[in-house]
Point group: C2
Chain length 752, copies 2
């Protein structure tokens, strides 16, 4: 939980033994989670919780069908308990190429972020312990001071070096070494990920059963089609592309506003589910046809035959759907000014996606089409001017959210006290006045409001991003991640270092000179080392160990299984595979890069804790990606530029803070030498942006040509037009049509 | 001369009568220049100085041929002197479309900058005088203070409003009105210029005699062709584009490093000039063949027949040129990794210029080819990595130049004193010790060093831009202009407001809090109004009037005419048409926008002076563009986004300074309301960037298609390949070949 500010700050002055105790508690906690996981995952009843991915792939069938009744739920084989940590090597065993094949490139590249953490921090830790720790340790500044403000951890930190000491040259040199090493790793990694992405894009095969990135390669998303009273959107699009891309245009699909149909489809599915349930019931007991009451939740009303009732309902809904669909296609009101245009060749699509179509660059906006699964359909119709106004509103709103979020929370906290509750609900008064309950509420309520806000925060940020008008889920995730990163940076990292709310900080920073700000923060940094160590252990170690246990899905699955699961399809649905939530996990993870880089030159003692986090998280997430998570879409690692940018931001912040810290140590000669490092880092970022980012935005023509040529050679008679016909139908359309097929598929899987 | 800092600052406390005197002096000076111009331009001998453009266009022939001897040099017609201001309406008469036809779009759009000045500041001035002046005037703060620090101009300024007065709401509201009006004008103008640019690009016809923008439309400049040991650059380019643009690739031209040839061509031209001179001499006096001495400058050595001597020299050089050319084409060492690729259709070229070609975005870089005249050939071979390193170096160098340029100048000044000169050149000692000379040197030398630096500054900035690796002269100009703008902003504008060098300012700003900086500057602003008024009159009024006199070209032309002109071709060459030097005139001009916007809400009294500047400059430059300047290349107003950006910068600076000024006036309630204005202005800039800038970078496919279709319909049998064959030959190549033809053309013009 990234709630640094909320965790009591009294731990800041902890000693070695305090940290030892905290470490012991957290290690025990983490071990407890891991043990619980090792035990629970062996129980057949939890199989679908801990091997969700394999069920979804059809490679694992329900184990509840075989063996005795008890074996369905509990694993009685004692030998399997002895190997309770076997998942760890198993998780590491799968080679990366197989992992990409199994879980997609996004997941494989996401894991590389943890690997980068290890690659950056293992050498830095070794170097820091061999060079910086002796340099810091062999002073006696703190001993002489005899100041209780300092704990013995600080003897290993930069605080122990006397002001004006020439030893600060060592820290300066190390800052250079750390930065160069981090940049080297980042550069190499950017190169590798770029190559992986291009390789992935080039190698993925067309599969009719699943729309992969590859099959969208010939698609371009066109937005802001200008209205024309004489022609429909579809005609407009066709004429425009026949005029301007005559040799390559193949066909197009307009985008419908299909929210009504989506609602009908949902309703129908629910009805089908009930029908299946009663059908099963009837199959099990053919002597009696099941009946239901037509009233609310079947609690009252006329008794009717259940199967017939649902069958008629389904029939009615299907008809409604059909008329609605016709309506949609006929009524131009439902047609959005957007279309998916497909081209005969990848070359033609690559050209159309990268070029400006008309004089007015805000009309006929073309861009590479995302995977159909990745599209956020609601935003396809937003016009350019509207988007630019929305961006302004969100920027302002996000600024206020980041710096002033404490104001509404304080307000709600002031309402949510004993008196407030008594006023709203006087009948609770006797209960509340009980001493135990009263003190509980008083201690608990103020915290819970903030807690609820922090849980809701990612959702608020996602809503903001949606309002900004991004058209793909992956872009929404990336955008939310950036917002969350800034929020964590200001409210957790800076908020933990400097007391006071973000607004108070902002206010004091405005009234401080530009070179005072890094000083103010820099000076507090060594003092907060112990606090961040405990934070890493609580959030990083125990938190990650908790992740593998999947407590929430475990409980929900078992509850659903007990009460709600009526059919096999329901059981399928009760599984919650989750997926990597980039919008929250990436920023939280970036906080560790920031801590590691900031403390590398200041308090190296913190580094091993970060290393343990990265190693543990790598194994845990690798396991989850192999066995549990099911990515909803594939972007071919489109998020990498963001990840890279965030680490560079952390580097720059670490340099600024070291600059501030050193400038308070009377080292006027050496400190300005950090400025070239800053300039070089910014320049490195620009270099990487120019050199590697285009691979994540554009599709090089050479690649397109090569793939076109290959396809023409291998499949000369491919009927692309028919193949692409319905690739970009609205999910509600597709769902309606494919539904029976999907159900059939699932049954098939079940009986394997 | 933008040397605000150097002009004595004692004028800051001037009164109305002081300004009256200064105005009188400057108006007299300006009138003197205008009178001198009116007289000089009527003299036939100066005709080529004041009507250069018409001579270059061949629409005006030498007047020196006709009439009596005295009429050749002096106009004796008294009636023509009576109409000495007739050039003003004449300059305004030519309609804009004809102006574009006559002088190109660049010049026509450059004039629009002055028009924008008028459009923005006329309503602002009227409003300020009707609203702000009464609001300021009807206070008596300054009268009560009885402080000699304030002049009576300040009674009209914001200084006269007592602190904490509710009247500041008026200034705040006016700041909003001024900003909205400026943005409205800017938006409208961006729209108009964009339309003009696209119209110009669409309408310019192919002319074989002159490579206009239009004929380059099917060309793409390719840089960073990767080296290949097996193939030559030419083969590589051909194979690559045949592979990746098979339907559109037509032909290409590789780029040679032709510096040696350029040198030879220059030498040969000089020789030809001498030969013509002696030939003319011989024609005039056929009885005696002219002879020269072969030694240095013909001062000593063997006497030979001059015509034969030069003929043989020319012959030798021509042969050398031929071998060198063969050498160039054969030797791959001289071939740069760049090429101009032409396409069969504009569509194909537009596509190639806008797309990424290969996986590595730093190889096979494609961009729209500039006009052949606009290309800066030396930079075509610089690789991507080299460019990004050069950019870093230049950024650092420019930072030091801007903030620390006074250090070397002070150093040189300390050397360039009497003692220094006596040390270096002891023989001058008796001369220097003369009292008058000594005091002259002591008073003059320190100033001259700075003066020389300021004259050299645009050249230094241009060298920096060249080092950065831009491939077109126009881009170099734009880049230098931006650098110069920043330099003027910091060293002239801020430097005049706050005493001390830029470095001292920087140092004090670093040690000041973020909200103190605008305050410090803002408070000084009203006090500097009179200084800037005198600055506007000296630099803006008299300077612009001096521009029309063309004193330097006038003197140089007449001197050359007297001593150097040997042939008609020489006379042609002695004309110096000059052209709008965007790199220096645009930033100097932007300073007036900055002053106007900053003082609009503070001291409206300054505005009429700005209005006079814009009006006068508009007329003068319109005249110069019509009659004198000859643009070297045409970019179709590609500089507009820079102009727009600079005005927006001025707007933002004016808002920041007003914010600072108001926050010292105890108006806590109203001042924060300026922050939304800042946000809105930044947002407006982003909107314009998205909406209009693409038209200046990309070539929309629809336009390309339309032009392709039109051309196919009107000229179905066009042999484009032959037509484009040598469009992008290195100027040295072309010069060598076309030289005789050009000379012939010129003779033809002369005899008209």
């Amino acid at each position: 939980m990234p709630t640094g500010k909320l965790v009591s700050k009294e731990v800041a002055m902890a000693t070695f033994s305090d940290i030892g105790v905290a470490a012991a508690i957290n290690i025990l906690g983490a071990l407890g989670f891991l043990m619980a996981f090792a035990l629970l995952r062996l129980q057949p009843i939890n199989d679908r919780v801990y091997f969700t991915k394999w069920y979804l792939k059809g490679a694992r069938s329900s184990r509840t069908h075989s063996g005795t009744f008890i074996h369905k739920f509990i694993n009685l084989n004692p030998r399997s308990y002895l190997r309770f940590l076997e998942w760890m090597p198993a998780a590491l065993k799968m080679p990366e190429l197989e992992l990409i094949e199994h879980a997609g490139l996004d997941s494989a590249v996401f894991l590389r972020i943890y690997l980068i953490g290890l690659k950056i921090f293992i050498p830095i830790t070794i170097l820091a312990f061999f060079v910086l720790v002796p340099v810091n340790w062999t002073n006696s500044t703190l001993k002489n001071l005899n100041n209780i403000q300092y704990s013995n951890i600080d003897h290993l930190s930069i605080s122990n070096v006397p002001t004006g000491s020439p030893r600060f040259w060592v820290h300066l040199a190390m800052a250079y070494v750390f930065t160069f090493w981090s940049c080297y790793v980042l550069l190499k990694e950017y190169k590798i990920v770029t190559a992986m992405r291009l390789q992935f894009l080039a190698s993925v095969k067309r599969r009719p059963d699943q729309f992969t990135v590859s099959s969208c390669e010939t698609f371009v998303l066109v937005r802001n089609v200008p209205p024309d009273p004489k022609e429909s959107v579809s005609e407009l699009v066709e004429h425009f592309f026949l005029d301007n891309h005559p040799d390559h245009y193949l066909t197009h699909q307009v985008v419908y506003n299909a929210n009504t149909i989506a609602k009908l489809v949902n309703e129908r599915e629910q009805m089908e589910n009930w029908r299946d349930f009663y059908q099963l019931k009837y199959d099990g007991n053919p002597s009696e046809r099941p009946t239901i009451k037509t009233g609310f939740w079947g609690l009252y009303g006329r008794k009717v035959d259940a199967i017939d009732f649902y069958a008629s309902k389904i029939d009615k809904l299907s008809k409604e759907e059909a008329t609605e669909k016709e309506n949609l296609i006929k009524n131009p009101k439902y047609i959005m000014p957007a279309a998916f245009v497909s081209f005969g060749t990848r070359w033609g699509a690559a050209v159309c996606a990268q070029t400006q179509q008309t004089r007015n660059p805000t009309l006929w906006l073309t861009e590479w089409a995302q995977e159909p699964r990745d599209i956020y359909w609601q935003n396809l119709s937003i016009s350019f001017v509207s988007i630019i106004i929305r961006k302004l509103i969100v920027a302002v709103a996000f600024f206020f959210l980041t710096f002033f979020f404490m104001i509404p929370i304080t307000f709600v906290q002031s309402l949510a006290n004993i008196e407030g509750i008594e006023k709203v609900a006087p009948f609770l008064k006797p209960l509340i006045e009980v001493h135990v309950i009263k003190s509980f509420i008083q201690g608990f309520l103020p915290g819970i409001v903030l807690k609820i806000f922090l849980i809701l925060l990612p959702m608020i940020l996602m809503l903001m991003s949606k309002f900004e008008g991004f058209v793909s889920l992956s872009a929404l995730q990336r955008r939310s991640a950036s917002k969350y990163y800034i929020f964590l940076l200001i409210n957790v990292f800076l908020g933990s270092i400097i007391a006071g709310t973000a607004f108070e900080q902002l206010n004091s920073f405005i009234h401080q000179s530009a070179n005072e700000i890094p000083k103010t923060i820099g000076v507090s940094i060594p003092m907060k080392a112990t606090f961040f160590i405990t934070y890493i252990m609580a959030d990083g170690w125990a938190g990650i160990a908790g992740e593998i246990l999947r407590l929430k899905p475990l409980i929900f699955y078992n509850l659903k299984n007990l009460f709600l699961v009526k059919t096999e399809k329901d059981r399928e649905k009760a599984m919650d595979p989750e997926s990597i939530n980039f919008a929250t996990s990436e920023p939280q993870l970036q906080l560790y890069f920031l801590l590691g880089l900031v403390y590398a030159a200041v308090t190296p003692f913190l580094l091993p804790f970060i290393l343990v986090f990265f190693a543990l998280a790598y194994v845990v997430f690798r396991h989850q990606i192999i066995n549990v998570y099911n990515q909803k879409y594939e972007t071919a690692a489109a998020f990498w530029p963001d990840v890279h940018g965030h680490i560079i931001t952390a580097l720059i912040i670490s340099q600024l803070l070291l600059l501030g810290l050193l400038s308070t140590k009377h080292t006027a000669k050496s400190t300005p030498l950090l400025i070239p490092l800053l300039v070089l880092t910014v320049w490195f970022h620009r270099f990487c942006k120019n050199r590697y980012e285009p691979a994540f935005v554009k599709y090089p023509l050479q690649e397109a040509t090569m793939k076109d040529t290959l396809e023409r050679a291998t499949e000369p008679n491919l009927e692309l037009k028919a193949y692409l016909r319905d690739a970009y139908a609205h999910p509600a359309f597709k769902k309606g049509e494919d539904d029976d097929k999907v159900a059939g598929d699932e049954v098939e899987i079940e009986t394997v």
